[in-house]
Amino acid sequence: MKLHLKIWRQRDAQSNGALVDYDLDGIDQHMSFLEMMDTLNGQLILNGDMPVEFDHDCREGICGSCGMMVNGQAHGPVAGLTVCQLHMREFKDGATIYVEPFRAAAFPLKRDLKIDRSAFDRIIQAGGFISASTGSAIEANNLPITHDMAESAFDSAACIGCGACVATCKNSSAALFTSAKVSHLVKLPQGKLEAEKRVIQMVGQMDVEGFGHCSNTEACEVKCPQGISVLNIAMMNWEFNKSSLLG
């Protein structure tokens, strides 16, 4: 395959960035998108240019490291996958492909496609956990949890923290990310004790970090590689209002 790439290059957060054109030939349709980027980088290095910086690690869609806008869509045109799982067979020979970083005020750019998503860590830090220190746990089967509720908690817990929801949202809202953790924990009996404080603090942190508000366009769910449902956001709002009234 031949490709015309237009890739966002930016030295650091202070510098101006721009789309730079690259032509690439000999791409195999079974390559993953990141293997295509590796091929480009290999050529750039040998030409004495700087390779395109991007985050990636597990390359099997679970670590949440990778993420870029491909033709304007987070993780590219196929629903339900991360960009490391996107394959070149999804593109036509001779296609022009735009590659840009996830953009949000709360995700400052580091270089090229590499961004700073530490705001997500700080949201979890604000209360996205159960305070169960090592050694204090009770026997696991003393706490039965219905099959369906365990499965539902898992559905929420499956978030990989990649940031596609934020990059897709026109308000750069982190509601889907935050609500997934709020819902995961509040669905489980062991997570209910801290539920009120948790939701208030996590939502508060979301605002501090500069993420926008959710205006229910549901675009985040469409581009979430794990298929995290917007019903989590409804649950977070319910929990938030309940906690605000009762607390």
Binding site: I62, C63, A137, I138
Partner: protein
């Protein structure tokens, strides 16, 4: 050097309890004065950092990723073992201990393995308390499944994402301590050297990957939790960033490396499709609960899998190992696949795979049940290969996966350097020559949550009165200068080939000569080949940019430089072990029907290696394995 594993005296089942009762303690007021460095935030690193912080120590935690949640523990799919015996199927701590010891081909310590099985009970409790959403039965109780190498169901799981959920539990425990102020987290930092003062581990040198700055950190003890190094084979199931640099640099500072050639080749991975490929994705071993593995009986079979009638299929695992069938342990399954592929029965465009077939399970259990169990695995398979495994069998093949070897540690998980501990996959301790499925998440967690808090405390109790070392100490100057020198060396070569080029060459060589099967001749050739490749690397490498900026290529180059040295040691390790055991299969040592031939008389020891300096043959220090409680037997699964 005489290695002392410091195994406590007494009956097997009392050893750990005895140790805990006698271990020294540190007064809570004094814990605040002690600093610990933990390198790595996977399951072992996060659980260690969180548990130690909960005790009151001050923790500095490091990872090279952009968040502590991304470490490759996240990718473990199938589950975590525990001897809860919830299924009433005859499981017990002793049985789990014996299964693990036998699975490892009797090349691990009895006391360590028993402790692993013993502590497994608490781990499930701990994880549930953290909110890990394990699979449940309709009655609300925890569900189990079966895994390779055992005949009971002791594996707890969260769909096909057990590692992710356990890691998030540990990450959340860690990040809670960050909020409290007991852990200072340094993401995008890579350890490049260990600092010793008077022979004790007292700090590390790291590179800030965002700025390129070289930074110093001092502490009273250092914990390495940087995982495995299967990525040394380039194509592996590991994440792109997985590396041996932290353990290798600790090794060069004096920590012995144990059994580095024991790499597990995982039998159920996606086969290689082309030269461009950057990794081989793992499909969970849990698939072997319901999938049947076969190849065509005819060589050069041209028909599609579904067109080949039942009687023309060779279910070779069921044929060779009728008791365990498709659930034979990983080393045996991988080798059996290689045997069929090498004999010319491989399937797929490159004839490098075998079939994993679900048609019988779908017929018996219904497609919905199979979907509930394996949905994410089937959809992952579809995403990568564009094939639908509900309709036709998957194509799988073995790939480099888990490092049973690693830094040598004693019963306290301390390396041969006082004050330097190694936990999780970074150490060698519990799996012997072959790890059983669903034991890696277990070992990583147990090391961090339940063992280190006792053993590190025992060490630190003796450190309270020693002089506090700061980063102004001369040892830091020397280590930092060495790190800078190596970075500049790599940047200045200015050759014509990328780090990936050398990594791929090294990987091919290792797969070929130090992979699923080895020979003395091949290993000797490999050692010479690695020397040659290493020479080329330092002449022809090209790294763009400088060391003073974000530079992923420089990170890669440093890791490949360490891999080249480590690969050489792996080959020496494999060459000197004149027996076949677990993942280490020497073609010279096999039974007439092709099974591994272990030699307990001469090789019932752990090979611990000392770094003698560049270009010199490594020095072997054997640690004899003493079996007091069980009798060594031939490891048969037939």
């Amino acid at each position: 050097m005489i290695l002392n594993a410091k195994i406590p005296d007494g009956p097997l089942e009392d050893k750990w309890t005895t140790y805990k009762e006698k271990a020294k303690l540190v007064n809570p007021a004094n814990r605040k004065k002690l600093n610990i460095i933990v390198v790595g935030t996977g399951l072992s690193g996060s659980s260690a950092a969180a548990s130690l912080a909960e005790l009151g120590y001050n923790i500095q935690s490091f990872c090279f990723q952009d968040s502590a949640r991304r470490a490759h523990s996240v990718a473990a799919q199938g589950g975590v073992n525990a001897a809860k015996n919830y299924q009433n199927d005859g499981d017990s701590v002793y049985r789990m201990f014996y299964d693990t010891l036998k699975g490892g081909d009797f090349r691990s310590r009895e006391a360590n393995v028993y402790r692993l099985a013993e502590c497994s009970l608490n781990l499930i409790d701990q994880a549930v308390a953290q909110g890990v959403p394990f699979a449940r039965e309709y009655g609300g109780y925890l569900s189990n499944r079966s895994f390779g190498g055992v005949q009971v169901s002791r594996t707890f799981y969260a769909r096909g994402q057990t590692g992710q959920q356990l890691l998030l539990g540990a990450y959340q425990a860690l990040i809670r301590q960050v909020g409290i102020g007991k852990v200072k987290l340094h993401t995008r930092h890579e350890m490049l050297d260990l600092v010793l003062v008077d022979g004790k581990a007292k700090g590390i040198i790291v590179r800030n990957l965002d700025t390129g700055d070289i930074e110093r950190f001092a502490a009273d003890a250092v914990v390495i939790a940087t995982g495995g190094f299967g990525k040394i084979y380039y194509l592996s199931t590991l994440a792109m960033g997985c590396n041996a640099s932290a353990i290798w640099r600790a090794h060069k500072k004096g920590a012995l490396m144990a059994c580095p050639s024991w790499t597990q080749m995982h039998p159920t991975c996606l086969p290689q499709a082309g030269d461009y490929q950057s990794k081989l994705t793992l499909m969970s071993e849990s698939l072997r609960n319901d999938g049947r593995i076969w190849v065509p009986k005819l060589k050069d079979e041209k028909r599609k899998a579904n067109e080949i009638p039942e009687e023309e299929r060779d279910y070779y695992l069921e044929r060779r190992y009728p008791t365990f069938g498709n659930l034979a342990p990983r080393d045996i399954s991988s080798r059996a696949a290689k045997e069929r592929i090498d004999a010319g029965f491989g399937v797929g465009p490159l004839n490098n795979a075998v079939y994993l077939d679900f048609s019988k399970a779908i017929k018996e259990q219904g497609i919905d049940k199979i979907r509930e169990k394996y949905k994410n695995l089937f959809s992952m398979y579809k995403k990568i290969t564009d094939d639908d495994a509900y309709q036709a069998p998957m194509k799988i093949s073995p790939a480099a996966h888990f490092s049973m070897g690693g830094l040598w540690v004693d019963y306290e998980l301390m390396t041969t350097i006082p004050g330097l501990f190694a936990v999780g996959e970074a150490n060698f301790a519990d799996h012997g020559a072959n790890r059983l499925g669903a034991n890696s998440l277990l070992q990583a967690s147990i090391d961090g949550y339940f063992i280190l808090p006792y053993t590190l405390t025992n060490y630190l109790a003796g450190e309270l009165k020693t002089e506090k070392i700061t980063i102004k100490h001369r040892a830091f100057d020397i280590a930092e200068a060495e790190v800078n020198e190596q970075l500049q060396l790599l940047v200045n070569i200015n050759g014509t080939k990328t780090a990936d080029h050398f990594h791929k060459e090294l990987g091919k060589l290792l797969y070929d000569k130090c992979g699923l099967s080895r020979t003395a001749k091949g290993l000797t050739e490999a050692i010479a080949g690695i020397e040659l490749l290493s020479g080329k690397f330092y002449r022809e490498l090209r790294v763009s940019g400088t060391e003073g900026e974000i530079n992923a290529e420089l990170e890669k180059a440093g890791r490949v430089a360490d891999y080249l040295e480590m690969a050489r040691l792996m080959c020496y390790d494999a060459l000197t072990r004149n027996e076949s055991c677990g993942a280490h299969f020497r073609e010279e040592y096999q039974t007439p029907d092709g099974e591994a031939l272990r030699n307990d008389k001469d090789f019932c020891f752990v090979s611990a290696w000392e770094w003698p300096g560049r270009g010199i043959e490594p020095i072997l220090h054997p640690e004899p394995l003493v079996f007091e409680f069980i009798k060594l037997s031939v490891r048969s699964y037939s």
